[in-house]
Symmetry: C2
Subunit: 288 residues, 2 copies
């Protein structure tokens, strides 16, 4: 099974367990709506790519790590879309969870997905040492002081360090994806942090570029939100051309940070492919 | 150190770690506001009481379990108080988190506390087998299909089984508190489930009684909310006298469910004391 199928299969299994008889049916439907159909699954693919590069000797544990990270990402999208934050009407080309199911269920869906992420890890008690490391890696990347929740909270502060904001809001979960992939495979996981952090920065730059210059239909959510909401954005900081150069630089730094391993060449190809795919079509021709 | 001091000390340590330099200051303040000053700490005290009854040979792990459960409880209060649910202006006699810090920070505070709960467990990798069991126990009790998030989601459904609603919304975390206390101490944790479930039901009945017949100043939050919001409530179902009888019956069943252990007598005394304390003062004289 290729990485994308592994991820979808594992996510389906996780959501199906949540949908067991006795679950409030609207919550179950909202959770499914938040996770499927699939988005780019960038973070769990990074997790599995790193696990593969490290030998992937416990593939079910790698799947659980990937699932955990994607569920946390989906949870953050559901809560970010709420009326008190972005008030986004659409996500992945469909109504956002609060538009489809109402605000109470959107809050609970985010909560439920966060918990399910940790529950997914808890099912692998036969590798307790790796599990403990995964639990710490994943929880740090989402929580406070430096995880995605902290990153989102910088939007509520009057003084924001843009690098710190992006490192928490986006970089932390990318770093966790890389570290968790290595940890699930029993490798020296800290070696993989820089790769994850650089890819996180690159992804954020690409996201800012799409927000400024993309097409709502192509990216499946409203554009121009960062400017409308006065949020920090690499395009506002460097201009569009500067932002694209910054993206290319970060991708290069990420590739340079791949630790020595058998799967290094495959990982490099994957990263270059991803970087191209992340730019809006009308801009991709300008990138190297 | 007695149980209450242990819990406060461990909660202070957990929140202090979240407040590290680099944390968005408003989020840190909102997290502290949500957790301190202390509420009744009923669940973590149950957790430590069960751990003590089981020998408590890893007290720092028991503390982490208790902290984890209390943080999840605090998170659920912050989200339950949001405008889209109860829209509660006060909690524990002070402004609710969204009234004090705004709705975005209230959503993020709940999220951050959920993550911190799991992160607190992750710090005890030297007992990985117990940690894995704790992770599964705690995550199940909060998540879907049968945890407190699922319980809260029943309020969004048109048809609700009141027993199922209460079992998820309140009973699940009490059951987890008892099971986690035993698991942290390395005991046969499933033996402690019934005790926790019965205490959860008893606590919910007491909460319903306070909501119907209590005094807002005494209990530190608005009263009459269940009736105003048309929510399931044991007083609406059985009347006030019937609800008090039901509470007494549940406390008796909880005590009968204490597994054979050295600390059984102490635990029984603690439970009887708690049960009395939970009733509004003007009703306590009518209870046995």
């Amino acid at each position: 099974m290729d990485a994308v199928n592994r991820i979808e299969h594992a996510l389906q299994a996780a959501i199906s367990r949540a949908e067991a008889p006795g679950c409030p049916p609207k919550l179950a439907a909202a959770m499914r709506h938040a996770v499927f159909p699939r988005g780019a699954r960038v973070r769990p693919r990074l997790c599995l790519a790193v696990a593969a590069a490290c030998g992937d000797d416990e593939p079910r544990l790698s799947d659980a790590a990937a699932v955990s990270i994607e569920l946390l990402h989906c949870a953050s999208l559901v809560h970010d879309d709420l009326p008190c934050f972005d008030d986004a009407a659409t996500r992945r080309g469909r109504p956002s969870v609060h538009r489809a199911f109402g605000e109470p269920l959107a809050v609970l869906t985010g909560d439920a997905l966060i918990v399910l992420a940790f529950q997914s890890l808890g099912r692998f008690a036969h590798q307790p040492q790796r599990l403990a490391l995964l639990l710490l890696t994943v929880s740090r990347s989402v929580g406070v002081p430096f995880g995605i929740v902290a990153g989102q909270a910088w939007e509520c502060e009057s003084h924001v360090d843009i690098a710190c904001y992006h490192r928490s809001k986006t970089g932390s979960l990318f770093a966790a994806a890389a570290i968790a992939g290595a940890a699930a495979a029993g490798a020296d996981s800290e070696l993989w942090r820089t790769l994850g952090e650089k890819l996180g920065e690159a992804y954020q730059a690409a996201d800012d570029i799409r927000d400024a210059a993309g097409d709502a239909d192509e990216i499946g959510k409203p554009i121009g939100r960062d400017v409308a909401l006065g949020r920090p954005n690499v395009v506002l900081e460097f201009g569009l051309a500067g932002a694209i150069r910054r993206l290319e630089q970060l991708v290069g730094e990420a590739i340079a940070a791949i630790p020595a391993c058998a799967g290094a060449a495959d990982l490099k190809s994957l990263i270059l492919l991803e970087a191209k795919r992340l730019l809006p079509k009308k801009l991709a021709q300008y990138a190297a």
